[in-house]
Amino acid sequence: MVCGGTAFATTASGGTASAGRPRSRLAVWALRLPLLAPLVFIAPEIVAAIGGRAHSAAHLSASVAEVMGNAAFIVFALMLAVTPLATLTDWRWHVVLRRDYGIAMFAIAMTDLVIAAIVTGDTFPGGFVTRVTGHSFLAAGTLATFLCVPLALTANRRSQRSLGRYWKPLHRLTYMVWAAILIHLLLLFGLRGPAIHAFQVSAPLLLLRLPPVRRWYVTSRRSGEARLSRAAVGVACAATFVVGLAPFIHSFAVSGEQAFLQQPEDR
């Protein structure tokens, strides 16, 4: 069983305290700012669609999955990376970002779902329900988003207190969200492209959550042993993660720019 930092987690174990130092606080805010990028990119198309401009619904339909889908995956991967990063570096200042990224991922995914349900009638004829569950890959994506509802509802200190010892098991739902996202991408792309990259991103995140690996890393770091092995594992995991995530970031940047300029690629 995987363990450690369930996502959407609040930071009862010191994240807030270490994020309290001015420099850490600045870094945390700097890392929160990019969460607004998807909204900034897609906002002009939403405004145009609400204003009823010609072809705006088609533009939005063409952009929403690329912009919001990529953004949701990127933010989810970054949220999952918080705990492994703490394992690798012993940092605590960034732990506060886990909850922020989790809630942001939910907001982005839900926005994607709502917009898709409204504007993708040209691709998926039928009602709202067909547009979000009409195919297996759509159902998997929708399931991933809906599973985030209880997580987002309880991603606060009050819920953590109310649920007590039940809070952490509930937040292990994150792993089901993770599985649903991978299935969504697998059904959508098959064993190529983004699906492979998603598995590539997931591999080091999963590896560093495995109790024996995590225990070995933390113990040997504290005792100052196996420096070379630890460095090799750290570099390999970081490189795999970054190389896997880069195509998503590239795709998000390109489609985001096109959405912002309201020039979606020809379909």
């Binding site: 999955a65 009409g134 297996s136 759509l138 509930l170």
Partner: protein, 63 residues
Amino acid sequence: MTIPSPQRRTRRMMLVVTAACVSAVLGAAVQQIADHGWKAFVYRAPGVGATHDRQDGGASRHP
């Protein structure tokens, strides 16, 4: 009769929320299968879903 603790009550509430979310999606998916068949649900026609720079050579996008 034992009175559930506030923690258990909250836990039960969240289990209900989770079950409702999962049921909503699974129910809708089952309805789609019943209406259009398993093949239409699982297999997508070329051009449905994946973006063209990634897979299908001129496909539309998906939600």
